[in-house]
């Protein structure tokens, strides 16, 4: 039996005023799936990912995540829409290329801030949970340090722990290892693999073909604001249906 669909995007359009960045992109992600989105720079893959939790507001289209649906019918972004986006984000965590840790807080406080502010949970239980999360990403020892004193890999793992603290069902990663050297990147990818084993649904925009090939359930190839094709790595990487995909893969491998 197939896992249920936890996130679906239908016909997303986005235009920043200089031509379409997304031209009607649709995608479905099942529970526990690990999806890698690949494609040349400027193909719209990051914009697509950022639309999924409404950091970027699509011009039209519809997104459903864990039963929360937002449909863009006209150009106006209403208070009610903002409210729905807020609800949607309770199910969706995000990790950025540049980590974006809060520099004025310790690692532990970075993890604790959102639960405390958003959910009003600031007790010993949450503290223990936060420490457990840091343990999981291998950062328990540096919990009281400030982000600036951490290596890039440590910072990115802290950012993952911070996102996990809100107990999301879906995680989005926007080029999580692009700023890291390959050895350090491996620490981060290891954490993502662990999460995959635990059944987390993850969508990753990446340039790391090796990781995408080894760890993904599905690889999505985007170009020019379209999804050109998608499929399991053994199909897409070995025998892509489109010439475009083939050419892109050839430049990488």
């Amino acid at each position: 039996m197939e896992d249920p669909v936890v996130l679906s995007a239908e016909h997303l359009h986005k235009n920043f005023g200089e031509g379409d960045v997304l031209c009607g992109v649709s995608m479905q992600v099942r529970k526990g799936e690990l999806v890698s989105i690949i494609g040349p720079s400027g193909c719209g893959k990051s914009t697509f990912l950022r639309c999924l939790n409404f950091l970027e507001i699509p011009d039209s289209g519809k997104i459903t995540a864990m039963g929360v649906t937002i449909e863009r019918k006209d150009a106006v972004w209403r208070r009610a829409d903002e409210h729905m986006a807020h609800r949607l984000r309770t199910h969706v965590g995000m990790v950025f290329q540049s980590f974006n840790l809060f520099p004025h807080l310790t690692v532990l406080d970075n993890v604790l801030l959102a639960p405390r502010v958003v959910k009003g949970e600031g007790g010993e239980v949450e503290r223990a949970e936060a420490m457990a999360l840091l343990e999981k990403v291998g950062l328990a020892r540096v919990a009281q340090r400030y982000p600036v004193s951490l290596s890039g890999g440590q910072q990115q793992r802290a950012a993952i722990a911070r996102a996990l603290a809100m107990r999301p069902e879906i995680m989005l990663y926007d080029e999580p290892t692009s700023a890291l050297d390959p050895i350090v990147a491996e620490e981060v990818l290891g954490v993502m693999r662990t999460l995959d084993d635990e059944g987390m649904t993850q969508i990753i925009v990446t340039h790391d073909m090796r990781f995408a090939q080894v760890a993904s359930d599905t690889i999505v190839y985007m170009d020019g604001g379209h999804i050109v094709e998608s499929g399991p790595p053994e199909v897409l990487c070995v025998n892509p249906a489109h010439e475009q995909t083939r050419r892109f893969l050839r430049t990488l491998l």
Partner: protein
């Protein structure tokens, strides 16, 4: 528990804010009690600028807490003759008439000349004193004895007086006008001017008492002083005052007061029709001269400086209180303005921008005067203290707003996105992520701003608050001692500012946690 401290504004600032709020509350209570007390007795209030106004109303050289002067004595007699209790109100010279129209007091007696121009803005009592203009020169300078002699020389006088008009009509002099008598005499003594044309009493008390100067020539023109009332109001009080003045002319009270100050003039004899010679020694004049002669010598000076300390402490306290309250207001309002400018809806954004531009584009002095004397026309009547705090605070809010705006903008955009992605609202993201980081960035600038606010607080002296600068003017001008008192007041400002520089440096260090250090 350590974590909690990270989210609230750090404990240090919380404590700081609380202290300031308490100070504010205490001072308001004090002010309130004072007003309530005043309303019970309903004394008639009269105002003068006692900061540098020998021999009219000034602080006794022997005892700076006591007022004296021929007008002051005259007002005491007037109170007795009217059977009313009179209350003195200090105000800066430039604020005397506006304060009258604002209803801060009912009368002004401060050597105001009864000219047609003045009569357009205020009502006058009958004249209580008539004198004339006199020429004062340096003993070793050119001896200019008549108006014609003055031609071609640099001549000093007080601005907006009959003496100034006389000199203007005599077009060939290089006119120098001053706000303060002491400054005019300083410049004459230092050779910056060759003569001063000035009202008789001032010429006598500043010129005759200075060994380097002398009063020369014949009296020129005629100057009448009257008590000023707000235009078209208080006719009943004016009648009562005129009646009392008339009695004082007849029973010789006025004569005796003026003789005590050695200021009886032929014009007064003519006015009062009192040509008798009373056996009154000019005790007040003698005392003043004696006190001035005793001003040399280090021991006497030192004793006098020590005597200044309580006054300086009081003034420093007021300066500090006004500045602290104003800074708290500036920080709060500034942050609100900055947030509105950056994140507010369009009309509010526009309003905040306009506010900042208007406030930064107009002089603080105008703002202080506008808030204290202008706003009452719209029914907003603030106490001097509140008006001082509001005008300084709202002025600095504009500068702080720009400061914060720069700080907020320099916090990376990714910080806001990360917070939103963590399901915080915009407001929460600002409150917990962006503002705390911006605050650390702007700390050093804020410290500088507070130091300049401390100094700018001197401007509130124009709305009757006797703070440090006002105290300096008063003390230095009554003793002609700009140097010693200047050092003392300067030291007071430094002492006030230093703890804040240190405090800010401490806070900066505390806030600039390891995260600010670059590897």
């Amino acid at each position: 528990m350590k974590q909690n401290a990270q989210y609230c504004p750090p404990r240090f600032w919380g404590l700081f804010l609380r202290c300031v709020c308490m100070l504010l509350a205490v001072s308001w209570l004090g002010a309130g009690a004072h007003v309530a007390h005043a309303q019970e007795e309903k004394p008639i209030r009269w105002a003068a600028d006692a900061s540098s106004d020998v021999p009219y109303t000034f602080h006794d050289l022997k005892d700076q807490d006591k007022l004296t002067g021929f007008e002051y004595d005259l007002m005491q007699e007037l109170g007795k003759h009217m059977g009313a209790s009179l209350q003195f109100v200090q105000n800066d010279w430039d604020g005397l008439i506006p304060g009258l129209q604002r209803g801060l007091y009912e009368m002004v007696i401060c050597g105001i000349e009864m000219t047609d121009e003045h009569a357009e803005g205020i009502d006058f009592s009958d004249p209580y004193y008539i004198t004339s203009e006199r020429i004062v020169v340096r003993r070793n300078g050119p001896q200019l004895k008549t108006l014609a002699d003055l031609n071609g020389h640099a001549i000093g006088t007080i601005k907006d007086t009959q003496a100034e008009r006389i000199l203007t009509e005599n077009a060939k002099v290089q006119l120098r006008t001053y706000d303060e008598e002491t400054d005019a005499f300083m410049d004459l003594a230092n050779g910056r001017t060759d003569a001063i044309l000035i009202d008789g009493p001032i010429a006598k008390y500043y010129g005759d008492t200075n060994p380097a100067l002398q009063v020369v020539g014949e009296p020129i023109g005629r100057v009448e002083y009257g008590i000023a009332f707000a235009k078209g109001q208080n006719a009943a009080l004016r009648t009562k005052v005129n009646a009392a003045l008339a009695t004082m002319q007849h029973d010789g009270t006025l004569h005796r007061v003026l003789l005590r100050w050695d200021l009886w003039t032929p014009e007064m004899a003519q006015l009062t029709n009192d040509h008798t010679t009373l056996n009154v020694t000019p005790a007040a004049w003698n005392a003043y001269v004696a006190e001035l002669e005793g001003k040399g010598g280090w021991r006497i000076k030192l004793e006098r400086y020590i005597g200044f300390l309580p006054q300086l402490a009081k003034a420093a306290w007021l300066t500090l209180l006004v500045s602290l309250c104003a800074m708290v207001l500036a920080v709060g309002a500034g942050l609100a303005l900055a947030l509105l400018r950056l994140y507010g809806p369009t009309p509010l954004r526009w309003a905040a921008t306009t506010y900042v531009e208007v406030v930064r584009g107009t002089p603080l002095l105008i703002q202080v005067l506008f808030i204290f004397y202008g706003l009452p026309e719209f029914g907003i009547s603030l106490t001097p203290f509140l008006a001082g705090v509001v005008s300084l605070g709202m002025n600095y809010a504009a500068y702080e707003a720009e400061n914060y705006r720069a700080g907020l903008q320099s916090v990376a955009h990714g910080q806001m996105e990360a917070a939103l992605a963590l399901n915080m609202t915009h407001a929460q993201a600002l409150r917990y992520v962006v503002v705390p980081q911006a605050f650390r960035l702007v700390m050093p600038v804020m410290t500088n701003d507070f130091i300049s606010l401390l100094k700018d607080s001197s401007l509130v002296s124009v709305i009757t608050l006797t703070e440090l600068t006002q105290t300096y003017i008063r003390l230095s001008s009554s003793y002609f001692d700009y140097f010693g008192t200047g050092l003392m007041v300067g030291a007071a400002y430094l002492l006030l500012g230093l703890p804040f520089v240190r405090l800010a440096r401490m806070a900066e260090k505390k806030l600039a946690q390891p995260h600010m250090r670059r590897r």
